[in-house]
Amino acid sequence: MSEASTPKPPSYSTIFRDGLWDNNVAMGQMLGLCPLLAVTTSATNGLGMGIATLAVLLLTNTLVSIIRGIVTPQVRIPVFIVLIASVVTLVDMAINAWMHELYKVLGLFIALIVTNCAIFGRVEAFASKQPILPAMADAFAMGIGFTWVLVAIGAMREILGSGTLFAHASLLLGESFTWLEMTVIPDFSGILLSILPPGAFMALGFLIAIKRLIDRWAKARQERAAMAGLVTE
């Protein structure tokens, strides 16, 4: 039994740093790749999927943190799966009933969230061991981290594939966001590969490579600074 003592919750700055960069859902943990690869054909789709995931993550992390005291390690996995599946279904029904206009745009993505193991990953790795507030902060950080990667990959694929950026954003966000829709390369027929599934793997690969390069560079700089500190002493 690993739960002899509750680990001390990490500080909020660590939670956000992890979620947005260090342990980012898509680039660090490599989770949620199924919806990531499937929907990021445009930046708008990425944003829609990101928002829907964020909402579900926030709900499931909070609920699991509340019931973490009564769930035993032996049955935790089925309990969490039942909980996540039910929450996704309830969110789907609620948005369909009370926010029908939004559902017409986001509806397609909500069902896909069930295939996102990042939700289960956060519930299992974080919320089942932490108090409610850190769990909510973690959900928020991870959700935002996932959203920005989705938007970045969507934007890369959209620019290369169809020469536009945030096309149809006004359908998702409302008429006041029409300014977001732009044509980056006019009269561009697009590189088909970028829109097809392999394009998603390539875009994600490039993004991860860039992240690793930046991390390595930051680490080297840190080491140099430490060495310089030692020398001057």
Binding site: T40, T41, T72, L90, N96, G190, I195
Partner: protein, 221 residues
């Protein structure tokens, strides 16, 4: 106060079973509650969407009956696996046209669309109602995203031959999308079969009507 995190009763099989069972029960209750609270609203939205779509494919000035009230479900296994909803439009007693609510198999799942024909069998409009196609690739079948779906307007069995009823890749008349051929193929073939169904149905209707009229005349004389 130090709380015991894992009291002994929790390691018992009974507790675990009760926990899992209780959780499933609670979640089922929540889902039933959620469904009861939302299904009427959702049905209403679906109906409203359908009315709005009907208005898009068939001008309201064309008919004075209530096509949704007069609709009937017809199973035609020759053309479609799922039953077709037929919404007849009449002006007075004159047959003005018909809207068909058809479900075919798309790439990602069932694809539901509505198409309207005037009395002569010419397409007034086609709109996709629900689909599960890939966002960003194949959702250009929605009018919001692309005007592809309007390429059916004015087409009929008379002015477009059997070979032309296909996507360009299959030597037909209609564009496919970059990266998505199966979806437009499914829609084109569904619309084509819809026209064929309409032709048969219309013939049946008119023969049924003329026999009814003949019978009425016979009994009248």
């Amino acid at each position: 106060m130090a709380t015991v995190l894992n009291p002994t009763y929790r390691t018992r099989l009974g507790y675990q079973a009760a926990l899992l069972g209780g959780m499933c029960y609670l979640m089922s209750m929540l889902l039933i509650g959620g469904n009861t609270a939302t299904h009427e609203l959702i049905d209403e939205h679906v109906l409203n969407d359908k009315l709005a779509l009907l208005a898009q494919v068939m001008p309201a000035s064309m008919y004075d009956n209530d096509p949704i009230a007069d609709s009937q479900l017809i199973t035609d296994s020759e053309h479609f696996k799922a039953p077709i909803e037929v919404l007849p439009a009449r002006m007075g007693n004159e047959f003005a046209g018909v809207a068909l609510n058809i479900t075919v198999q798309g790439w990602g799942g069932p694809l539901n669309f509505i198409m309207a024909m005037d009395a002569g069998g010419e397409i007034l409009g086609v709109r996709v109602i629900t689909h599960k196609e890939t966002p960003g690739l194949a959702d250009k079948i929605e009018l919001d995203k692309d005007d592809w779906i309007t390429s059916f307007d004015g087409k009929s069995l008379a002015n477009t031959s059997h070979i032309q009823w296909a996507v360009k890749k299959d030597n037909g008349e209609f564009d496919q999308f970059t990266g998505a051929t199966i979806t437009p193929r499914a829609v084109v073939s569904g619309v084509y079969r819809g026209l064929q169904f309409y032709q048969q149905w219309h013939q049946q209707q008119s023969t049924a009507q003329s026999t009814a009229v003949a019978k009425a005349e016979e009994s009248g004389s």
